[in-house]
């Protein structure tokens, strides 16, 4: 059973069509990347999977179930990393994690939290500090840790590497592959062509609400052909 399906999905925001006939399908353990310029409709796609936006035509399914029929089930199955890592500035990393996780029904003790924060390499001395003192990259790390800790079968990550330094991006890419190998299904939104090519099994190129290209990782390669994707991206950016 595919974990995520978008079928000829069209979505409007403020009466403007922002997605048009988008179709994708993710099997369990797959990593797909949605690549596209600003305003292409990447975030909109994720929000539609979560049921925050309703398609004007077409449909989205999570674990085989139509999202419009059971938003709750979809949200429970998905760990979502929003764009710009929005967390509470007056809480520290532990408090933020505990709060959101307990709302999702997961009780977590500090050791488990620390393991996740270690995986994203957040400095130990920062963890007890309120997040208003964090840099963008540090906040992003906590948000990623949260997505992992949700232990949901599906991860929707919206620009997870923005604000991260190159070393942290490498760590993140490794982490994503580990999670997929562990059976998680991951849909990743990015405009980092290089990173997408390195972690994704398939890249969907989105341009002004339409899918304009699909690139698969050849079975004998460990990454997608970066040159080809770059070329396609550049063509559309110029158009």
């Amino acid at each position: 059973m595919p974990m995520l399906i978008a079928k000829e999905l069209s979505v409007e925001r403020s009466s403007q069509q922002v997605l048009k006939d988008v179709s994708l399908q993710l099997e369990q353990g797959e990593i797909h990347a949605l690549l596209g310029g600003n305003g292409a409709g990447k975030s909109t796609t994720l929000l539609t999977f979560l049921g925050f936006l309703t398609p004007v035509s077409g449909s989205v399914h999570v674990q085989g179930r139509d999202v419009s029929e059971d938003v709750g089930a979809a949200r429970r199955a998905i760990a979502y990393l929003p764009e710009g890592a929005t967390l509470y500035a007056h809480l520290n990393a532990y408090e933020n994690l505990r709060y959101f996780l307990s709302l999702a029904g997961t009780d977590t003790d500090r050791q488990v939290l620390d393991v996740a924060l270690d995986r994203v390499a957040l400095q130990a001395e920062a963890r007890e500090m309120r997040m208003q003192t964090y840099s963008k990259g540090m906040r992003q790390k906590v948000a990623i840790a949260m997505a992992i800790l949700r232990e949901a079968p599906i991860l929707l990550l919206d620009e997870p590497t923005s604000g991260l330094d190159p070393a942290a991006i490498d760590d993140f890419n490794r982490l994503v592959r580990d999670l997929a190998e562990g059976g998680r299904t991951i849909l990743l939104v990015t405009h980092d062509v290089y990173g997408a090519c390195h972690v994704a099994d398939r890249i969907h190129l989105l341009h002004r609400g339409e899918l304009v290209g699909t690139f698969d990782r050849p079975s004998d390669m460990d990454r997608i052909d970066t040159e080809a994707v770059h070329a396609a991206f550049a063509t559309h950016a110029a158009a």
Binding site: Y80, G84, L103
Partner: protein
Amino acid sequence: MMGQLTTIARAEWRLWLRSRLAFGALLIFALLLTSTSVVTALRMSEAHHGRTEQQAGAEATFLSQPDRHPHRMVHYGHYVFRAPPPLSMLDPGVDSVTGQSMFLEGHRQNTAMFADVRASAELGGFEDLTTALVYQLFLPLLLIAIGHGLIVREREENTLVPLLAQGVTGMQLYAAKWVALAGASLALLLPLAVMCAVAIGRGAAPLASAGVVGIYTAYLLVWCSLILLVSSTVRSRSLALGILTLLWLGTALIVPRIAVESASSAIPVPGKLQTDLNMQAELREVGDGHDASAPGFQQLQANLLAQYDVTRLEDLPVNFRGVVSQAAEADLTEVMNRHAEERMALEAGQARVAASFGWLSPVVAVAAGSRALSGTDLATHHRFLREAEVVRFDFVQGLNRVHAEQLPYSDDINRNIDAEAAKRTRMSAENWKVLDAFSFRPAATSERLSRANTPAAMLFAWLAMLTAIGALAARRMQP
């Protein structure tokens, strides 16, 4: 479900404790509440003791009068005081704007006077800030200050999507935020509950006291619901704060003023001077009974002579002058009571019109309910006026009976001949005991509860309406 609700509510409380603004506001209000409560309680308990003592003093003075002609005692008069009920330490209501004492004498109903000789300048007008006012006017401001961002803050800071993405429904989030603010309201009701407990200790009816706590609880919950509704429907915190401030101005300052204006234009109460002049004309027709030979009493005289089958007033077994005084007092009182009842009916009508504005403003509703339950409303003042009149009529007529039954007519008409004759008309001071002791009590609990019914219904209507609209808003909550 329940777990998510308490998690979100507790997170809100943690935010308030960590936010210097919210914490500071809470602290200031706690101080304001405590100090106002202490001041109001002290003031009203002082007034209670003062007036009770004055009452006892007035009674002792009356009883200690020497032997006298009974009609001189009718004009010597007596004082009654309206002691404030125990719950007035929360809500003094109309106590400070209506007279609290009255001089009682024959042939007249005096207006209530102000009993407490106290320089209000001394307190700089601060004494007008009562516990009830703090709850009615200022606590909503505090709730607005800490609660206007409840949901719109999450929207502005982009935490609403991640929150809902955890599987929390709009309904649960709405309920949880309501619980958070309602919890703060309940904590703020604690001083009120303590004061009610103290009032019960001083003799307040437990049910009425519980009613006071109940009506303020309903009132603050109305504000919680209103604040949350605004916070969940607007896009920015400043807009929420602006709208709520306007709503506060409207319900707390403007509508109450309109209510009073509408009441006095809907039911005009003629000036006291005018009604008194009209009444005086009617009273003159009846006569005060000082002149027993006035034509008005001819019929009485004829009836009395026929009844006892005598021809001369001197042969009657009763003193005709005393009988005339009794009859005149009864007739005068009927006229005066009719005027007084007319006036009170108009005033009560005004109060009803003003209170009906509670459908528009919960502030008006809670104020009316609070006064009714505390026994400090206009109806209670009217009750005082009626009770005072009963005391007045009873002691005047008691003295008139002494005059009619114990003082011989011949002594009475010849009392100016010499000192010896005058002395014979002095009745024993024993007779002054016709005066009943007066101790003012507000209406029975059941009556006060029933007067608070309509205000309570208004608050529940507000609550029901806001809950219904809130449920709709929660169901379609958008990030």
